[in-house]
């Protein structure tokens, strides 16, 4: 049953993403790599080589991302006693795989040996390149702020966590009314406060692997973003605009990708925390003076502050899910740009063939 819910959730996620892309809800200010292709025949060899590499690495990263999702589900099924660790850490893990593909598959900056021929003059702009020049204005700030906030929350949850019966830090202890004192006539005279625990809570059991993967993801993303600016420019000044568009494309893919997966990573952790806090907020209490008959239960009392906190955490999880899906749609749309989507020339071609 849980597997069915998981599959339905993943399919729903994919459908929402497709609908977002189809109805064009995402802003269309993407620069088309196809439109930036040089007109001169002499310049096209290298540009086409770069475009092929861009398409291949983006497609490989996407395929690996999908394989990562399937692998996370299979790992979850194979290790069902792991408490869903594979699924919880999946977004950060998948991003590490994706960014590794992007890092290990560099964008060429030189024509192939066959195309190159004799080494001609090389030109360079005297403008220092920075990561901010290529990609969204929030390209570095948002991922770092999101990461910092996530880290503080994760560490806080880890500190509050306690061990379950298997010795895993995946629950939280809290004070609550655990028993009632009754007199000889079975009348409740007092409620006694004791320790209880609730879970699954995003304790160290979940957060340590997530933090390790997030730190690796952030480090690799920053390395890739700096590498994007550091990559030598193309030898021919006629390809300067194309080079700039390719770097911008890469910057957007990296920034929106990491931000999306960071948002999606926080969703399971926040959902777990919200559920546990809601459980902590409810209490079955017998009222003092109530007669405890056989089978009677106490009334459910909710702590309003904890309920509000639980709803806030749940609301934040939903918000981050929406932002994550939007950013993922943004990422897919940017990747699609390398295949001609959004290109005026491409649209004309499609229109002509229809």
């Amino acid at each position: 049953m849980s597997n069915l819910i998981l599959i339905v959730a993943l399919l729903g996620f994919a459908v929402v993403l497709l609908v977002l892309l189809r109805i064009g809800l995402l802003p269309h200010r993407r620069i088309s790599v196809i439109d930036a292709m040089p007109v001169k025949e002499a310049d096209r060899g290298l540009a086409e080589r770069i475009l092929r590499a861009l398409r291949a690495r983006n497609l490989s990263a996407l395929i690996l991302g999908v394989i990562g999702v399937v692998a996370a589900v299979l790992i979850h099924q194979a290790f069902i006693t792991s408490g869903g660790l594979g699924l919880v850490a999946a977004p950060a893990g998948i991003w590490v795989l994706v960014v590794l593909v992007l890092l290990c598959w560099p964008i060429p900056f030189e024509a192939s040996e066959r195309q190159r021929g004799e080494k001609g003059p090389a030109s360079a702009s005297l403008v220092p390149r920075t990561t901010r020049m290529f990609g969204p204005a929030w390209g570095l700030v948002v991922p770092i702020v999101l990461f910092s906030v996530a880290l503080v929350g994760i560490l806080g949850a880890g500190v509050l966590s306690s061990v379950d019966d298997r010795g895993r830090y995946r629950q939280i202890d809290y004070q609550t009314v655990t028993s009632s004192v009754v007199d000889g006539n079975m009348i409740v005279t007092d409620n006694l406060v004791g320790q209880a625990s609730a879970g699954p809570f995003p304790g160290w059991y979940y957060t340590v692997p997530v933090v390790v993967l997030l730190v690796a993801g952030l480090g690799l993303t920053l390395f890739a973003l700096f590498g994007n600016a550091r990559r030598p420019s193309l030898r021919n000044p006629g390809l300067a605009e194309f080079d700039h568009v390719v770097r911008t494309h890469n910057g957007y893919v990296l920034s929106s990708g990491f931000s999306a997966f960071l948002c999606l990573q926080m969703v399971p952790l926040l959902s777990m925390a919200a559920t546990v806090v809601y459980t902590m907020a409810s209490n079955h209490i017998y009222t003092v003076g109530q007669k405890m008959d056989d089978g009677s239960t106490g009334g459910v009392v909710y702590d309003p502050w904890q309920v509000a906190f639980a709803w806030s955490l749940g609301g934040l999880a939903v918000l981050l899910l929406i932002v994550g899906i939007l950013l993922l749609g943004y990422l897919v749309a940017w990747v699609a740009v390398a295949y001609g989507a959004g290109s005026k020339k491409w649209q004309r071609r499609v229109g002509a063939s229809a």
Binding site: K119, G120, P121, A122, S123, A124, S125, L126, V127, P128, R129, M133, R230, R231, P232, S233, R235, P237, A240, E241, D243, H244
Partner: protein
């Protein structure tokens, strides 16, 4: 094009040029500073960036930067990178004449190389006189 920053200043290394790459870099940056194309406090790219773009060793660019620094045209700070010093623009009618000469050459349909050869010939004949 402006977004990519290529309009501000572009230097070219020609393997066929008899001057070495380091001298070509130094001369072109110096010319851009003298002409005012690189204004005061303009930050130059890092040695690594320029070396990568021009496909030369980092030592080659570092040598050019050192010579520019020795000539007082640029300064290098540990954290600020290399910046153009103040008062380096040539405030002389010569610059305006060079611009006029360039425009005249373009109107006459001359290429840069041809103009350079003409200037070189004029320079050599003035030395021999």
């Amino acid at each position: 094009m402006a977004a990519s920053g290529w309009g501000v200043g572009v230097i070219v290394i020609d393997p066929a040029n008899q001057n070495g790459p380091s001298e070509q870099i130094r001369a072109q940056i110096a010319a851009l500073i003298y002409s005012g194309a690189l204004a005061e406090d303009t930050k130059l790219p890092t040695v690594r960036q320029l070396a990568g773009d021009l496909r030369v060793a980092t030592g080659t660019v570092a040598r050019a930067y050192k010579e520019l620094e020795a000539a007082g045209m640029v300064r290098t700070g540990r954290a600020n990178g290399t910046k153009v010093n103040a008062g380096q623009t040539l405030e002389s009618p010569l610059l305006a004449e060079v611009r006029d000469l360039t425009l005249d050459a373009q109107r006459a349909g001359l290429g840069l190389e041809e103009l350079q050869k003409m200037v070189e010939a004029a320079w050599n004949s003035s030395i021999s006189q």
